[in-house]
């Protein structure tokens, strides 16, 4: 499902101009990471995708829907949004019901709901915990419950707001796996993150925002190469990218594999 943002402006009631003219297109099935300093407008922008915020000027289209003409509860069928803090949504007695809440709201058939819930629980490795009360789980697992409760809604677009904040390495790997599986299923995944390594390793496209405008938008390697521009919105490229640049590698790299390949070639040509 294609997302089209056209000259989007948003001013909060208090008078803060959070978005100052953003235009971009996210194609169906793209994996996009949004980076930028706090207050750059990342959350404000993605909250327009499911109608939680309405444009002050400009428009947002999700597929053939203009977000101004559809309620949040309708848009929820197209755009799933995982909030940063799982505690702000968990309320049921057990994990299974929590995960089934979204698809039930969307009015799916009971068989489909059961299938989607089982699938979401398997994907987030929660199957053995489905009878547990979410509040008896550790905060990392509660985060997975929040993820599962959106994945089970089977929306073409999934938004993650800072999925890796406060998570351990094992859980970050699980979240990365969720992103990978969603990509294979052809879902659009949009992630807001300050975790530049997570962003570099899992996303093909990066959008950097600064002061309510798009600073950079393009393939991950191209964006990460612009370290000086990124610094203006307080984003540091990953260590390996910076190391590669210092070593004078001819290409921008963003993970071990790319780094080693480029470095071997580099040494080879030196000799």
């Amino acid at each position: 499902m294609r997302i089209v943002v056209n000259e989007l402006h948003h001013t909060y009631p208090a008078g803060v101009e959070a978005l100052r003219g953003i235009s971009l297109v996210i194609e169906a099935g793209e994996q996009v990471a949004m980076v930028g300093q706090n207050g750059a407008g990342k959350t404000t922008l993605v909250k327009h995708f499911n109608g939680l915020l309405q444009p002050t000027q400009g428009s947002v289209h999700i597929g053939d829907w203009d977000t101004r003409e559809h309620a949040v509860s309708q848009l929820a069928a197209r755009v799933g949004y995982v909030f940063q803090n799982p505690d702000e949504q968990l309320f049921t007695k057990n994990v299974h019901d929590e995960v089934a809440f979204g698809p039930r709201n969307l009015g799916y058939s009971p068989e489909r709901i059961e299938r989607l819930v089982e699938d979401a629980l398997a994907l987030t490795e929660l199957t053995d915990k489905k009878e547990t009360n979410p509040y008896d789980l550790s905060s990392t697992w509660r985060k997975m419950v929040a993820l599962a409760s959106i994945i089970s809604m089977d929306t073409p677009v999934v938004i993650f707001d800072e999925p890796t904040t406060g998570q351990d390495a094992a859980n970050i790997a699980r979240i990365a796996n969720v992103v990978r599986v969603l990509r294979e299923r052809g879902k659009t995944v949009i992630t807001i993150t300050h975790d530049i390594d997570f962003c570099a390793e899992n996303f093909e496209r990066i959008i950097a925002l600064a002061q309510g405008r798009v600073l950079l938008d393009g393939p991950a390697n191209d964006v990460l190469a612009e370290d000086e521009l990124l610094a203006t919105t307080y984003v540091d490229p990953p260590q390996l990218t910076r190391l590669g640049k210092r070593l004078g590698l001819p290409v921008t790299v963003r993970d071990e594999e790319q780094f080693l390949a480029a470095y071997r070639e580099f040494i080879g040509t030196e000799k």
């Binding site: 909060y12 208090a14 803060v16 959070a18 404000t44 909250k47 499911n50 939680l52 309620a71 949040v72 509860s73 929820a76 069928a77 755009v79 799933g80 949004y81 909030f83 803090n85 505690d87 702000e88 949504q89 968990l90 309320f91 049921t92 809440f101 979204g102 709201n105 969307l106 509040y135 409760s149 959106i150 809604m153």
Partner: protein, 261 residues
């Protein structure tokens, strides 16, 4: 883009610079004068000659009028109406007008006006106080003067809890609507939406209580030693004089009640 957590408006003004305790004493002086002071018009005079000019002095007049208008006028208006209509008719009162079976008497209207203006003084003096005083500043000033930390914490927490809950509630509403919860449908749908909305709010608050307790104890909250403060809160000779003046007013207000007339 967080919502504001207190009424406080950060602004440079002479009223902002006044020591918080002085302002607090002033608020109580206004309230006690309004309730116990002599004269039918005293509460109204306190508003017109005291609180409103002070809101200009504190450069918060716009916020003051807005808050007072939204918060107070409906309540005070309703109170005025009810009191004047249902004031007991003792027999010798002059009837102003008759509505259905109700007699609106001059005494009733006078009584209603007095009550309403007293309430107005009480609430609007506090609004002015909250607009120009940061709660943490008041509390650090009071603890410096020997108020127990526990008490200060209870007050600060109470002042902040409602706006904090509001901010939290609006995030919860957003999160659940994003999961397809219909919050503006039929009555049945709305009742069904109650648990998903209040559940996280209640659980979250319980979890928060424990976290807060740990956080403040990590900063030696219950330590018996005298604590130092990072923030210097000015307390001038003028502040002291003003406090004595307001205390005197309070005594006079009570005195006027006791004085055999």
């Amino acid at each position: 883009m967080k919502d504001k957590l207190t009424f406080y408006i950060e602004r440079e003004s002479s009223l902002h610079r006044v020591n918080p305790l002085t302002k607090l004493v002033m608020v109580f002086a206004f309230i006690i004068l309004a309730f116990f002071g002599p004269g039918f018009w005293l509460p109204s005079l306190l508003v017109v000659l005291g609180i409103i000019p002070l809101s200009f002095l504190g450069r918060v007049q716009r916020e003051y009028f807005r808050t007072a208008g939204r918060l107070l006028l409906p309540v005070v208006g309703f109170l005025f109406l009810m009191q004047s209509v249902f004031h007991p008719d003792v027999g010798d009162s002059r009837v102003l007008l008759q509505v259905w079976v109700l007699n609106v008497t001059v005494e009733g209207v006078r009584f209603a006006y007095l009550t309403a203006s007293r309430i107005f003084v009480m609430v609007s003096a506090f609004i002015l106080f909250l607009l120009t005083t940061h709660p943490s500043e008041l509390m650090s000033d009071l603890t410096r003067r020997g108020l127990s930390g526990t008490f200060a914490y209870v007050i600060t927490a109470t002042l902040q809890i409602i706006p904090q809950m509001q901010a939290k509630a609006s995030t919860i509403i957003d999160a659940q609507r994003s999961r397809g919860l219909d919050t503006d449908g039929s009555f049945r749908k709305r009742v069904g939406a109650l648990l998903p909305l209040t559940g996280p709010l209640v659980f979250g608050s319980l979890v928060e209580v424990e976290e807060r307790a740990i956080a403040i104890e990590a900063r030696a909250f219950t330590s018996k030693l005298e604590k130092t403060s990072l923030r210097e809160i000015p307390d001038t000779k003028l502040d002291k004089a003003a406090r004595w003046f307001f205390l005197l007013l309070i005594v006079l207000a009570f005195g006027s009640k006791l004085w055999p007339s």
